[in-house]
Symmetry: C2
Subunit: 316 residues, 2 copies
């Protein structure tokens, strides 16, 4: 898949991965609507397999690899949801998953990935060690590298979440997603373009990790340097592939303060009784900080995941 | 309503309250099933209005009061979910709710009840002060006292949760609920008797608040004296009405340890990404402590509520 995914690519991908994924519910809350001043349709990918939308892209990538190559397995570097997602996708196909993780990754994340049966290789916590370790593993095993987001197979998989949201919510004025590396946001913006072209796409990004905001503003990809945010799924920078799609299809990226992220997260936990990770609270935080922009709109909002360490929550 | 609720009472109540309540979803989790060794259908009353099944009984009680009497309002003593439920039910009918609360109640609970527009009267934290204060309010205002559970209107309302669970899950071997005062458990056992008579009803109760277990065992109602448990919805003792129904219709009450309650709560939070209160984890705790009894069974389990203080969670 060498071109920006087409409408047909997304439709075909959705049929292909359908039997592997959960069709997650779209929830609404009158209490949250009343606080936010608009009508929000939450697409709950926290209920997706591995607790995050990432499984959509991972399973699509794995299903796209020809059988004779796939049997060498798949590999990636990640300590987060993509690692768990790729591990489960590989397990579904009965092939090995090789995951490179910094030795400093939290125990809960190491455990989650190990539970899905991946072979974990630890490395020093820097970019060079990570890439070298991955390179060596791929050379030794012949495993297929699946990037967390700079990969059209992954982007197309992530696009299916917004496709379902559009199918289940009727006409929406706005669809929102958080942005880190841009896999979810770029896929979302493609589905909106193809399946609901009158809907606007708006992203939320932590002000402490605002490389995507600056990249789009200045029309050049800034690397994410020393990001400071509780939203641990949004630490990475855009890639060539995600940048281009986002540049063309997303109206606006709002940056938000840390305290608003925690506030938004708490509102969703308390009012909706669902567990979302901090990254997933970023779009609601953007609404809370820009109420006039969203007033009385019908807003679809992708809850990206629900993986948190319950022993270390930000609520006081 | 002066007799034990009949099948028709429950059917009529369900039609009557239907437009006021949420029909909450029944969720399943292959990860939880694999840990528990049985197949569990979770009836998610944490997604009910006010975050607990209590709204079913409260709205039914309010709708059962003739209009000319109802306009004086309703009253109860409670610091928990029943207070919030009765307040919202009264608000729906546009009549006042008078809630008597111990002055020592947690701020979060005072706030929740106040948000629903109730008139709160604080009293000393003892049974005598509570009853006197309530008596005076009823005498002054003409408000209708709605007991949290020793009331057939309330029990019939609570029974509708199990009725929906049975309708949505197909044939179940066992249905479980936690037991405190017994409103949910007695209503559940009546719905099972009428709508799924081959299903067994089993309750879970904290060992540190095991008055219901002892009451059924010894065929006499023991008061709940100095209960010690994290399950703050299960501190009360059975009443005449709930005792009789439970005695006749519940197979078994399992008492469970505090650490198993926290473990079960954590499993549901982590694996299902939903927020449940400690009381709701008690039935799963009973399964975890008695796996052979439940092995390979199809088990309906009522999640009673999801109201927790996020600043004080039991996870380490």
């Amino acid at each position: 898949m060498n071109n920006i995914p087409s409408k047909n690519n997304i439709i075909e991908t959705h049929s292909k991965i359908n039997e592997f994924i959960h069709r997650t519910p779209v929830l609404t809350s009158s209490a949250v609507n009343s606080i936010a001043g608009c009508s929000i349709f939450f697409k709950c990918e926290n209920f997706q397999k591995v607790g995050a939308f990432k499984f959509r892209g991972a399973i699509n990538a794995v299903l796209s690899i020809p059988q004779n190559i796939l049997r060498n397995g798949v590999a990636t570097h990640s300590s987060g949801n993509h690692a768990a997602a790729l591990s489960l996708a590989a397990k579904n196909m009965n092939v090995p998953a090789y995951i490179v993780m910094p030795e400093t990754a939290p125990e809960t994340k190491k455990k989650a990935v190990a539970e899905y049966g991946a072979k974990i290789t630890f490395c020093k916590p820097n970019q060079k060690a990570r890439e070298e370790t991955l390179h060596n593993i791929v050379a030794e095993t012949g495993a297929n590298f699946v990037h967390p987001y700079d990969d059209y197979r992954v982007i197309t998989g992530q696009a299916t979440a917004a496709k379902e949201l559009i199918e289940d919510s009727g006409k929406l004025d706005i669809i929102m997603a958080p942005v880190g590396g841009g896999g979810l946001l770029s896929g979302t913006s493609l589905s909106v373009k193809y399946f609901s072209p009158e809907t606007e796409v708006i992203a939320g990004e932590p002000a402490g990790a605002d490389d995507a905001f600056r990249s789009i503003r200045d029309s050049k990809i800034y690397p994410s340097v020393d990001p400071q945010t509780i939203a641990d799924g949004l630490l990475t920078s855009l890639s060539e592939k995600t940048y281009r799609i986002i540049k063309d299809n997303v109206s606006e990226i709002f940056t938000v303060q840390e305290e608003t992220i925690v506030k938004a997260m708490r509102i969703i936990w308390e009012r909706m009784k669902i567990i979302i990770e901090p990254s997933s609270a970023v779009p609601l935080a953007a609404i809370l900080e820009n109420k006039a922009r969203f007033a009385d709109k019908k807003v679809g909002l992708i809850i990206s995941g629900g993986n948190v360490d319950l022993a270390h929550l930000p609520f006081k």
